[in-house]
Amino acid sequence: MAMREEEVGRAVSSTSNSGMEQFHARAHYWGRLTVWAALILTLSLPIVLSFFLGHHPGWNVILSAFLAYAGIVAVVWVLEPLMYYTILGVSGTYIGFLTGNVGNMCLPAAASAQNAIGVEPGTKKGEITATLAIGAASLVNKVFLIPMILVGALLVSRIPEHIQQVFPFILPAIFGGVLAQFAMKKPIYGVIGLVIGFVINLTALVVYMKMLLCIILTITICLFLEKINEAKASV
């Protein structure tokens, strides 16, 4: 396996001298390998339960549950990777969607790291920085998650009630903090994103449509603004 990876890398580097091309080739190779492995492993669990341990609930039950669930999430399977690709890049997409929690963990990690180093999203350095940050975030997340799931139920019930009350504020704090990072670099973008986000969230659209609409509108307005600025600069 390692040899094939080397070959992939070399084949690409001989046709192009860019280190980024080689990185992408390797990211595709390892990304697909790990995602397929996870896919096969996750599907093996219900198969084992149904056919090796004899707890099969019947295909009718499975199908009707799956169709109901798919009705809710099927659109998101495609939309989420597409929406976040421009932010995560090749390697970030593989690693972000396997480790999960893209919006609440991977994106904040990527954004903060890019901010700490002072690189722009959508550049080579930006993508490498995002990958390093998401990789580190994923590992830290597992380090917390595993012991907490094993003993956590006991521990959390010991945390006093009045401290538990602040837990719902963790998410808004994360999102507010990251938004401020961007607003400091590009104040106009920040205002546009927040205003559009707020207006959209007052409507009754489904969750993934809100996100999609917000991203499309913000990108369109920002591109339009850049165009005006360019026109002004060239005059």
Binding site: Q22, A65, Y69, T131, A137, P172, I174, G177, N201, L223
Partner: protein
């Protein structure tokens, strides 16, 4: 119910859950190593690479707590192993709980009820695993095509490269604008949480610039979350 929970913490379920987790951890390490190599090649300094890793690690602490809290709420219904597997990969807790109750309902019972037997548990596992497979399948099949499309757009000319940067930044701002707003419409306390974290971030970043201390930047999100929670504690 008890029988189902015994099955949920059986050795086979644990083995598969741990193997999935091993794949996720292996991938994270592999990608960090690949990105380190590539970073050196495109001229990133060693301290920049370390700073990226450190910031990612610090930033994950806050979200991890939020994730754990939701994960713990799933354990009574799904057991530790399945929860670990579903939250450890792709899953986001709210969606998983919807899938789990749909699976139980299709079998004609409810999560945690007396009629929740081993077959109902298996129905839940099928629903969650098939449902989660969609993301993985799309990522495995389509990422390469998205990459090709992106290259085509960028390689056309210099101007497209700049447009890509605007698109990436705008998409990021939009994502967080939307996520923050979705929280803010929940109530006054949530608005305060967003605002306090934002203001803390402004102050910390200004401080980092003024004192020329990069560690402040690396800790800025973690600290902002903490300040926001402390303020939150006193207003509720």
């Amino acid at each position: 119910m008890e029988e189902a929970m015994r099955l949920a913490s059986g050795i086979l379920v644990w083995m598969i859950a741990l193997m999935v987790l091993a794949v996720v951890i292996f991938q994270a390490i592999k990608f960090i190593l690949l990105a380190k190599d590539a970073g050196k090649e495109i001229g990133m300094a060693k301290h920049e690479i370390n700073s990226a890793l450190k910031t990612g690690a610090i930033t994950a602490i806050g979200p991890s707590f939020a994730i754990i809290i939701v994960a713990l709420s799933l354990i009574p219904f799904l057991g530790e192993a399945l929860t670990l597997m579903r939250i450890g990969i792709i899953g986001s807790a709210p969606i998983e709980s919807v899938g789990a109750s749909l699976g139980a309902n299709a079998y004609g019972t409810e999560l945690g009820s007396a009629g929740f037997n081993t077959q109902a548990f298996t129905a839940v596992v099928w629903t969650l695993c098939l449902g989660g497979a969609g993301w993985l399948l799309f990522v495995a099949l389509a990422t390469k095509s998205m990459n090709k499309l992106e290259k085509k757009v960028i390689n056309k000319n210099e101007k497209n490269k700049k447009i890509m940067m605007v698109v990436a930044t705008a998409a990021m701002v939009a994502a967080f604008g939307n996520l923050a707003s979705a929280e803010m419409v929940k109530g006054m306390e949530y608005i305060v949480a967003v605002l306090v974290a934002s203001v803390s971030m402004f102050i910390l970043t200004a401080l980092a610039d003024k004192l020329q201390r990069n560690w402040i930047r690396e800790w800025s999100l973690g600290l902002s979350i903490l300040v926001s929670l402390v303020v939150g504690y006193f207003i509720i």
